[in-house]
């Protein structure tokens, strides 16, 4: 396990390094010049050149890249071209919205999807089993912004129980308001996410239900719930965990639509603004942090799979060599 961990960590670092090169270069291949956004209309070529010099975009790419890496090494994500504010605290402030939003939605989605998925699999021949998988099928087709608008119409505009959008300016210093403002967004993401998770849980559970090991466990006298708990859940969770990892990672930035519908100052909206303004430091900062998060999530998902599935440990952690 130790060796595996080391190898997996090395892989993570190499991926991060490659990703940072790719995102740095791709960003600069985009059409448009950040200096345009920084000079007034009708600026002379000299003024534009001066603006390029001020933000360092006139220097050779490798030099810009090493400069950025040097900053990163000291934990500095640079300074926004447009607002002149440091990017690090800005990203951190957005994470204060996006991380609770994503995690809460994720947990809620799992809490909904696992039991529903199992029931849909176990009772697939009954009317309600079919209904559950029908609903999840339908749920996958629902666009997230549409669901958001419906929830706003019902719970904010209609009942007036919750705010229709926004996040308190004081952030988590106003905990009750912060929580209230995240309820509908969390629900929106969780419902859409759980729809697709139910499908995965259901098919993983189906495989387990038809498996020889479950039949053997039952034959050895285990009750269905006990056999399911001891063998079924574990086996079913292996494919589900990898899907969970992907879902969680994509929600991190994919929450941008929900952030827009609910006017939340999250990471996705910072990225969208940064791209529109050619604000390279902001875009790089957001993408770097989210790449890191995605890689970490993948890392944790891999580890979790190895913990629940001894076969993976046996195959990879030295026994075979």
């Amino acid at each position: 396990m130790g060796r595996y961990l080391l190898r997996r960590l090395a892989f993570l670092l190499v991926s991060l390094a490659l990703a940072s090169v790719v995102l740095f270069v791709l960003l600069r291949l985009l059409p448009g010049d950040p200096a345009n956004a920084l000079t007034s209309v009708g600026a002379s070529p000299e003024q534009i050149a001066a603006a390029r010099h001020a933000i360092g975009s006139d220097r050779p790419l490798p030099e810009q890249f090493t400069h950025w890496l040097g900053q990163l090494a000291t934990g500095d994500l640079g300074t926004s071209f447009v607002s002149s504010l440091p990017v690090g605290p800005e990203v951190a402030a957005r994470l204060n919205v996006t991380v609770p939003l994503t995690l809460a939605a994720f947990v809620l989605a799992v809490v909904i999807a696992v039991p529903v998925g199992f029931v849909a699999a176990r009772r697939r021949h009954t009317w309600y089993g079919a209904l559950l998988s029908g609903i999840s099928q339908l749920g996958m087709a629902v666009p997230v912004f549409w669901l958001g608008m419906i929830l706003i119409a019902v719970f904010a505009l209609g009942a007036g129980w919750l705010p229709s959008g926004g996040f308190p300016q004081d952030g988590w210093a106003a905990p009750a308001d912060a929580v209230r403002s995240l309820v509908l967004p969390v629900l929106t993401i969780a419902l859409v996410m759980s729809a697709s998770l139910i499908r995965y849980v259901r098919s993983a559970a189906l495989e387990v239900l038809d498996s020889d090991f479950l039949r053997t466990a039952r034959a050895l006298g285990a009750s269905f719930p006990a056999a399911m708990w001891r063998h079924g859940l574990r086996n079913a969770s292996v494919p589900v965990i990898s899907v969970l990892g992907i879902e969680l990672a994509s929600t991190l930035l994919g929450a941008v639509v929900v952030e827009s519908v609910y006017a939340l100052p999250g990471l996705g909206s910072l990225l969208a603004t940064g791209i529109a303004q050619h604000d390279y430091p902001v875009v790089q900062g957001v993408l770097f942090v989210s790449t890191l998060a995605v890689l970490l999530i993948g890392f944790v998902a891999d580890l979790a799979q190895r913990i629940v599935d001894p076969r993976l440990r046996a195959r990879l952690s030295g026994g075979a060599r």
């Binding site: 007034s40 209309v41 002149s84 504010l85 007036g160 926004g166 300016q169 006017a263 909206s269 910072l270």
Partner: protein, 505 residues
């Protein structure tokens, strides 16, 4: 012109202008001030225009004008919501007989929020900041006439111009007086206005707090919070749930019904200066031919276009001049919608069978809608339109800087921007020596009557030449809860003065 939210390059409308505009807008401030109101209220304002930074000489965008102009920062003069220029930090001023020297006397007892007295040195510094090489101020080009600035004493500023400029005082209403020792103005402030900057949470909100040491009348509310939205529906929802009290500029006409039909809201249809243009490249064939330009203008039913985009709101215009500019004349009858006339003009110009051209179309509303409409209309007279959708950045480089286009769509937001037709190097390439001369003479005019008369000639001439096709004038719609009164409704130059807003308890 207006580019979308985060990439707007405000084009300086060179304002040739009157010192005190007589043109007054219909409605004045919104809301009826009745009953008692809460002097310590917090007013929540919803807006689509978040500042990019807090410095109006460093590309802060229209959002920074909306939030800070008049509220946190003040100029020597103020452009009121009904278009008048009045003294603000200037107590008084004198122009020399030749119109080249202006002497300003500063108001006594004004301090910056940091506590320092406002002196002539600060005024000089502030004006120089606008004129500096790295300045992105929208008024920079208009203020190039400033030759030198002297400060004979702490309360007197003397500005010498290189030539007469009747709009000089008007242009000064855009120059914020800033503490010459202030630092980091992109993220902090040191102004003289009735509010200090509370907190700016990027991507979300910006708050202002009433400044107890303000030299003038204290603000009618204690705190103002601008809440920023990217999505017009989310903004409207906030108004419906009372999370915001007022929306500075409504951009989604479909949503207005829910407010007009609700007694708890008041919809104000103010005077806008934003025009939607089909701008021809007057130096590119076939638009070099005035008959072709007139034909295209006559072939498009502007009324129908306006109705499809804005429902019952907005106005038709026949030229670049909105009704609030002093030199306005109703020219909607010039090159009015007339398909037969359009066909005849095309035949005369040798295009009886029509022609085709590429329309560079910015990728945000309402341009794509307008482009599709224009394509359908022009097809009826045999003209084929190829719609080329471009980003604001591409528009800026391709159209505005390189003049590499045949025709384009663009919104122009400023008042008094007719004078751009006097500049043959401007992106649309309209080049008429007489017009250029009139515009110059108007700026150097001694009286506003003289200036107005000259610009009226420019107005008529450019309209007759169909220098561009002016499709319509946008509405300026402010929606507010009925608890609120005293808010500005005309949004002139994107200002939104908050200090008179009263909120019932």
């Amino acid at each position: 012109m207006r580019l979308p939210k985060n990439a707007r390059y405000a084009v300086a409308a060179s304002a040739s202008l009157a010192v005190a505009l007589t043109a007054c807008s219909g409605s004045g401030s919104g809301g009826a001030a009745t009953g008692t109101w809460d002097k310590d209220a917090t007013v929540n304002i919803g807006s689509l225009y978040e500042p990019q930074n807090l410095d109006n000489t460093a590309g802060g965008g229209q959002g920074v004008t909306e939030a800070l102009n008049g509220n946190v920062y003040e100029g020597l003069f103020r452009l009121t919501d009904d278009g008048k220029v009045e003294n603000l930090l200037a107590k008084d001023y004198k122009a020399s007989a030749d119109g080249l020297t202006y002497t300003f006397t500063l108001r006594d007892g004004v301090t910056f929020h940091s506590g320092k007295d406002v002196t002539s040195a600060d005024v000089k510094y502030s004006l120089e900041k606008v004129l500096a090489d790295d300045s992105q101020s929208a008024r920079k080009s208009n203020l190039q006439v400033v030759k030198s600035i002297a400060t004979p004493d702490a309360h007197t500023v003397e500005v010498t111009l290189s030539k007469k400029s009747i709009s000089f005082v008007y242009n000064l209403s855009y120059v914020w007086i800033i503490n010459s020792r202030a630092k980091n103005l992109k993220t902090q402030e040191d102004g003289t206005g009735p509010y200090t900057l509370g907190k700016w949470t990027r991507g979300s909100a910006l708050s202002l707090d009433r400044y107890p040491g303000y030299w003038g009348d204290a603000a009618a509310n204690k705190k103002v919070v601008f809440h920023y939205f990217k999505d017009a529906t989310a903004l409207n929802n906030s108004l419906l749930t009372n999370a915001v009290d007022v929306v500075t500029s409504e951009q989604s006409p479909d949503a207005l019904d829910q407010f007009t039909s609700n007694a708890n809201y008041k919809v104000s249809d103010g005077d806008s200066t934003t025009k939607l243009l089909l701008a021809f490249n007057d130096k590119a064939k076939p638009f070099t031919d005035v008959r072709v330009r007139r034909a295209v203008s006559a072939a498009i039913d502007d009324k129908k276009l306006l109705a499809s985009v804005w429902g019952g709101y907005g106005k038709l215009i026949g030229s670049m001049v909105p009704p609030t500019d002093p030199w306005y004349e109703d020219l909607t009858e010039v090159n009015a919608y007339d398909v037969t006339a359009a066909k005849k003009l095309l035949a005369e110009a040798g295009y009886a069978k029509g022609f085709s051209f590429t329309l560079d179309t910015p990728n945000y509303d309402p341009h794509p809608t307008a482009a599709t409409f224009i394509k359908a209309q022009l097809a009826k007279v045999g003209i084929t339109v190829r719609i080329n959708t471009i980003t604001p950045d591409e528009w800026y480089t391709k159209v505005y800087k390189n003049h590499d286009f045949t025709a384009t769509l663009q919104e122009h937001v400023n008042d008094r921007d007719l004078v751009w037709y006097g500049n043959p190097d401007f992106y649309w390439g309209y080049d008429d020596k007489q017009v250029t001369r009139w515009v110059e003479q108007a700026e150097e005019a001694s009286t506003t009557a003289e200036q107005t008369a000259l610009l009226k000639k420019v107005n008529r001439k450019t309209a007759e030449d169909a220098a561009s096709d002016w499709l319509y004038l946008y509405p300026q719609i402010v929606v507010a809860g009925t608890k609120l009164s005293g808010y500005p409704v005309n949004g002139l130059n994107s200002q939104f003065f908050a200090y008179d807003i009263k909120k019932k308890g």
